[in-house]
Each structure stands twice: as C-alpha cells, then as structure tokens.
Symmetry: C2
C-alpha cells in the first residue's frame, strides 16, 4: 500500500511494539517505551533479555505478540535491525520507525543493503528511518522522539506540522513553539528516508485535517520531481514553508544532496520553489516568523501595508524594510483620512501614521480600526515604542484586537530589551501576532503576500 | 567656539542649572533635576515660582546664580525658551540642552526664528535641541533624559555610544543594552539640531577616549557634506554603525530629510556610506548585532569563516547564510586537519565542521582552538544545538574561551526557545559573543569584514 493512508499508522497507531524496549532509565529504549505507554493501551515491549519491562510483559520478538501491531519502533544495534524489520514485515506490522543509526550515513553498506532488500520485498510495512527520531503526534500523544521532556517544555497542541530529515532541527522548533501562543500538530524526522520520504510526509500532512501550516527543513528531496509535483498540489490547499539547507554549490555538497533535479544555485532553488508555491525561509528566524504569521493571521489580499506608530523614526525604519522586502506602502482613502482626522486630531495621517508620543491604547485602537477597514489597505503593522519617557506603557499594553469581521493580517512590532518585552508579551496574550523587529515581520508579510498571489493565479 | 572642545561641557559639566526645575514629582523638570543632582554638586534650580526645589535654593533666572554655569537644561513652555536661552548666552553658559518641544517640528515659526537669532548672535553657548531628550553620560552620571529609570533597567557602563535625532530610539537601545554583557558610554538625542548636529556629535565621540564604537540612528544629515567628511575621518579611528531611516524616496519624505546631498535611493545611500567607511544596519536587529560584535570581538582580517557545529543541518543553514551575506567558507590547512583528525577522530572536518551529536565542551574546545589558530581561517562561528536528545547541555554550557593571543572574531550561535536560551546565556556569561540566529551573526560578521577592508585600503 502506498499513499497517505499508509502513513496514517505512524501517527494514529492502535497497537504499538517497542523493539529494544529497556528497563534501564536513560536508555533510548526506556524513554521511547515510557512515552508511548502514556498514549497507547495496547503496547508491547520486545526484548529477549527481559521478561518484564516497566510493568508490562516483555516478548522475545514481535512475532510472539498475541495481537496485530500498527506501529513498531526499533531501537537496536544496527546489525540486529534487518532481522527485526523482517519479522515486522512477516507480522504485517503497518508502520515501523527505525531509530537506530549506523547505516548509509556512516557508509555502512552491508546492513543498509539488507534493510533495503527487506523494504523492497514487502509492501505491507512502511518504514521511517533508519537514523531518525521518528514522529510526534502532539494531539494523540504518540511520541517516538526521546526529546528531553523533563528539561524542555512540551509544545502546546496546535496546527503547525514540521517535517525534517534532522531530528535536532525538529527539537529546535519544538523548543521555540513552547514560547508561542499556538502549537504543534505533528512532527516527523525521517532520517535516511529509505522508504518514507519528505514527499510522502508532505502528501500525508496535505490531507491531514489537524494540520493547517506545513513547515519543513530539507537538505534535498530524495525524488525531486515527485516532491515538487506533490508540493504544487498541496500548496493550493495549505501553506508550505521550507527552509532549504544547501542552497549553494559548496553547501549542497556538505548536505549530500547530489540528487540531480535539486542541485544548483540558490537562484535555481528560488525559481523552482516559487513555481511550486512553496514559501521560502532563509533561516530559522524566517521559518519561525512566517509560520507564526500563517498560523495566527488571515492571509493577505495584497501587498499594501499601513504602518501605525508612536515614534516617527521607528515608523520610517519599518517602512524602509517594507519596501526592501517588496511590499508597498498603503495610501488610506479620503474617507478614512477624514474620519481619523476627527478622531485623532493630532496624529500625522501619512504612512507611517504617527500617533505621536502621547498615544494610548484608545488612540491606537481608533487608528487600527480605521486602517483595517480601509479598502486601500491590505495589512496593518502596528509599531509600539514602550520606552518613550512620557508615555504610560501599562495603558498601551491594554490594546485590544478589533473585531475579526475584516480578515486582514495585523501584526504588532516592538523592539527593545526586557522592559519592552514585558509589555509586548501582554499584547501577544491579548491575541495579537507580535514580532520583535520590523525586518522580520516585513519578510514574513512579504512571503505570505507571495503565497496569496500564487493562490490567486489559480 | 566650535569643534569637539565645545561639545565637552554637555557630557562633563562641573556646574549645572535646570531652568524649569520642578518640585512636583512626575514633571520633566522634576526628574531632570533629581537625576542631575545625583551626579553634580554645583547644581542650581531655576524657576521664578519656587524659592526652593528638592532641598536646593531656587533662582528666578540663570543670571542670578552666583557661579559660572557649564550646562543649562531648559524645560519650559516653548514661548519662554528664547528668553531663557538669551539669558544663558549673556551668562556665558557653555552648553544648553533645550528639552522643550513646540518649534519647527510643529511648524511654529516665530519661536523658532527667535531661537535661531539668539543661537546665531552668540558664539559662547552651544545648544542641543530643541525637542530632544538631551544627553546621558553613563560614566559621570550626567543625565538629562528623563527615561523611566524606576521601570527600565539602567544600562551598564561601557564603551558603546549612540546618537539619535529621536530620543525614543535612544531609549530602545538603552533598554536593549541592559541585557548585554557590555554597556553604554554616551548617548545624545539632538532633536531639531538648530545648533549641535549629528556631525558635531560624531566629531566629539570620534576623539572621546571612553567611546570605542559609535552607533547612530539618522534620518538625514543637516549638513550632508560636513557629516560625510567627518565620518570619513572618524571611521579610520573607530567604527561607526548607522541605521539610516528614510532610505527610499517615499520614506525620506516621511523622514523630512530633503537636504539635497542626502536625498536619493537606498542604493545611493549605500554607495555614499560605503565610501565614508560607515557600517550600515538595515534594522535595529543589525544595529544591535553589529554593535555587539564590534564591542566584544577583535576586528576580522578577512572574509573566511570556519563553522563548527554539532548538528549537520544547522551548520548547512549557517553556511548558506555566510555565502548569502558575501562571506567565504574557510578551508583549514592540512596541518590543522591532521591535528584535529587525531584529537577528534569521529568529527567531519569540512566546513561546516560537524562534531556530531555526542560533542561535548572538550571536543568543541579542541575544534575551536585548532580552527582559530589556522592561518586559513579569519573568523570562527560555533553553532550549538542544545536540544539534541542524547547530549548533555549542562556539559556544553561549560565551554570556555581559548586564550586571546590569537585575535580573531569568535561567535557562538544557538537557535531555539527558552531551553536553548538558558544554556546560551551561560555561554555568554563565560565571555563568548553570542547570537540567536545564524543570519543575524552572518550579517554582522559581513559588515565588520567590510569595515576591516575599508581600513586596509588606507
């Protein structure tokens, strides 16, 4: 079986076997078993050395288990993996995650070839890995990742999914989301991709109702054309944000992504990704910012941004950034101008719109409502300088979002240190999408504007 | 008197008068007086309404004070400012900060013209403002800024100076530095620049022994040619990092910087700034990062960066960023390679150099020492993924800096959430220069490489 249905058991298994389950705390086989035990009732430890693991009867091998198995997680020394996988195939296990390393990534050919033969011969068992941390379904609690939960705050439940060859980069994004107002849906690190690859996962997440935004770290696509065909289809339905590692000739060598169709310069990638409607991130900072914007805000209808500020200089720096990133400065209509001139007699009603140093939550509220309702405005960026000596930051932090009848992106940006951050966090908690720097917000807004244009082109 | 000597009394006054000193807490005239009182013994409140302000005898006007005055700070309603300044001139006050607003910035012509006449007629009193927050000398405690010290953490004493037309942007940078390992030397917000302008301040800071790095937010230069001539000279002695607001035709209008020589496109600015050896920031994020790098690290001798990482993907993303910003990937010498191959038998000794997931502080230490000593390496970027499941972040946070005999920039980058930040902060406290994102560090490294090249061109 192929297609998204065959990926489902990785994320929603009803029965799980942990091959290499351990009774010794600190071992990967211990952590994985203990994490999965919390999420699945039908769970079976497999380890010939034990009769009992963490209070559960232990089996010599997967074939002995008196139940069908949806998911097997294999954490064994590399040379023992092929036999264990062969047994999974005989048992008609639907999905297997091979955590073990020591295959093609270290140049180990014999075990790699044996594994490949087993994968090719059977059509019933989908395989993720080897050399991976596997999957996390943050809604069902299915978790093969052995990330350090005791120390790292668990991510919130949400609708952002992330796929990455590298497990380490996955742990980075989970760490980051723990500070955000939204959360993670599904995560998959697929390692050497001997069977399940980025394209399979993309296709699966594309049809997954619990995934709203797909983010990915890719070094190469195992099958370039397949990946792009799938991406092109999926990106019509939901946004895909990709951070591509190895964009240049020098770095793509380090990434080991020599696979024909994907090699080339940063410019080539850019063109191909654009064609597939893929939103691009240059760095983790963009990946995070764009994912956040897509998660929290409606998609923009155009490139015209209205900036509202309480500091002239801050507004101008932001406007320069908008233009640098390919966005446009909106021009509010005569009607909006007349209304705001009455409501905010002292404000400078240009773009940036300067509410001056004595602006409070009320004047910001009026300016935001006026601008967001204007047909000449596609998005609104609100800048707040909390550190202006004469203002009352406590009052500014009381800012509330306008009614959501008008669906346009609205972001709040405040730059500074801990003083600024304290008040910006309150604004974020009140439901606003916030950023620390105009340039970061501008890049994210520009990327989503590109995506909106891609969708409109149809 | 003109030249840097005439600016000195703003930062090192031996006697101060506060014109408009107030006995009422919360008033600007109260805060300014109470802040200055802590730093200067010979301080005189001036206010015809009071006989006594904060325990000091109060004078009707500056002429009545039985002592010469180095610095007068004027915080009065706009229409009263010209007379007060005229009295300062008669008194031969060396420097006057006019905090009051309500002049050319709001189109008020009469008071502006009167002020200008007084400034032109006298040659003894240098004037800063009006419409400014004035100055902060973080070493002597001289502070006319009325920033909210009770709420905002005071910046550390250090050698970063900052000039800005806007006081608000100054408060932003002070807020930011409170989180940094280095601190602020001098800050000046010069408002409408009717007398003292950005060029005067640049010249002064250029010869100031307590200033190592000059940062500036500029919307325009009052006298473009004068500014660039001075910048060209100063930048030979110490780095100048400028964030220019209003780089584009649309935004320069908002910035009100129509002053001939400085108008134009972002590209024109870029060229002119480069010629003067000015390091450019696109946004606050660059301004902060570049200032930090210049403050904490020696200047690079070239563009070749060696990346050391414990996560392959993270390394590749960083390498892409280096190339995108115009830096080069270093190639370590055969000798270094052989030495490191013995010391770190499992590491992948390319660029990025991958120490793999089990790297510890010891292996990082060896790799850093080896690379920084290599004549083919100009700078070293160390990437640490603290969230890799199998590693011990506590151990990695024990990383110590190599001996400083070899003067090359060395930065540590770690991306993530609170878990990552906790360990990165320890690394920063151990004396490393740290950043949260490879792209931000790469931009700062590239800007300082440009500056080093400017200096070499002679």
């Amino acid at each position: 079986m192929r297609g998204p249905k065959s990926i489902e058991p990785f994320f929603y298994p009803k029965s799980v076997a942990v091959i290499g389950a351990s009774a010794k705390a600190g071992k990967i086989g211990y952590t994985v078993f203990s994490n999965l035990k919390k999420a699945v009732k039908k769970i079976f430890p497999v380890n010939p050395k034990h009769r009992n693991v963490q209070g559960k009867k232990c089996y010599k091998n997967v074939l002995e288990i008196p139940s069908s198995i949806d998911l097997a997680v294999i954490s064994l020394p590399a040379q023992k993996v092929p036999e264990a996988l062969a047994q999974c195939a005989r048992k008609k296990v639907k999905a297997a995650v091979i955590i073990s390393a020591g295959f093609s990534e270290v140049g180990e050919k014999r075990s790699t070839q044996r594994l490949l033969n087993i994968i090719k011969r059977n059509s019933g068992t989908r395989v993720m890995g080897p050399n991976c941390v596997g999957i996390l379904n943050n809604h069902s609690g299915i978790d093969t990742t052995f990330f350090d939960r005791a120390r790292m705050k668990a991510p919130k439940k949400g609708s952002l999914s992330f796929i990455s060859q590298s497990g380490a980069l996955g742990s980075m994004i989970l760490d980051w989301t723990s500070t955000q107002e939204f959360g993670i849906s599904k995560f998959a690190s697929y390692g050497n991709a001997m069977d399940v690859d980025e394209a399979d996962l993309l296709e699966y997440l594309g049809q997954d109702a619990k995934t709203k935004v797909i983010t990915a770290y890719l070094e190469g696509a195992k099958h370039g054309r397949k990946f792009f065909e799938i991406a092109k289809k999926i990106s019509r339905k939901k946004p895909i944000v990709v951070l591509k590692g190895g964009k240049n000739e020098q770095t793509s060598k380090a990434a080991g992504s020599h696979t024909g169709s994907l090699a080339g310069s940063a410019a080539v990638y850019d063109a191909v990704f654009r064609q597939a409607g893929i939103i691009q991130a240059d760095d983790m900072i963009d990946l995070f910012a764009t994912a956040k914007l897509l998660e929290e805000e409606p998609l923009t209808k155009g490139r015209r941004v209205q900036i509202i500020t309480n500091g002239g200089g801050f507004g101008i720096v932001a406007a320069d950034q908008m233009l640098a990133k390919g966005l446009k400065l909106a021009k509010i209509s005569g009607r909006t101008r007349r209304r705001l001139a009455k409501a905010l007699p002292d404000a400078i009603l240009s773009n940036p719109m300067d509410l001056l140093a004595d602006a409070d939550a009320k004047s910001y509220g009026k300016a935001i409502s006026g601008c967001i309702a204007d047909k000449n405005v596609d998005m609104v960026m609100v800048l707040i300088l909390f550190s202006i000596p004469t203002l009352n930051p406590e009052n500014l932090a009381l800012l509330r979002k306008p009614s959501r009848k008008i669906k346009k992106p609205l972001v709040v940006v405040a730059t500074g240190g801990p003083y600024t951050k304290k008040f910006l966090t309150r604004i974020e908690k009140a439901g606003f999408t916030t950023f620390n720097y105009p340039s970061i917000a501008a890049k994210a807004l520009a990327e989503t504007a590109f995506y909106a244009e891609f969708l409109r082109k149809g």
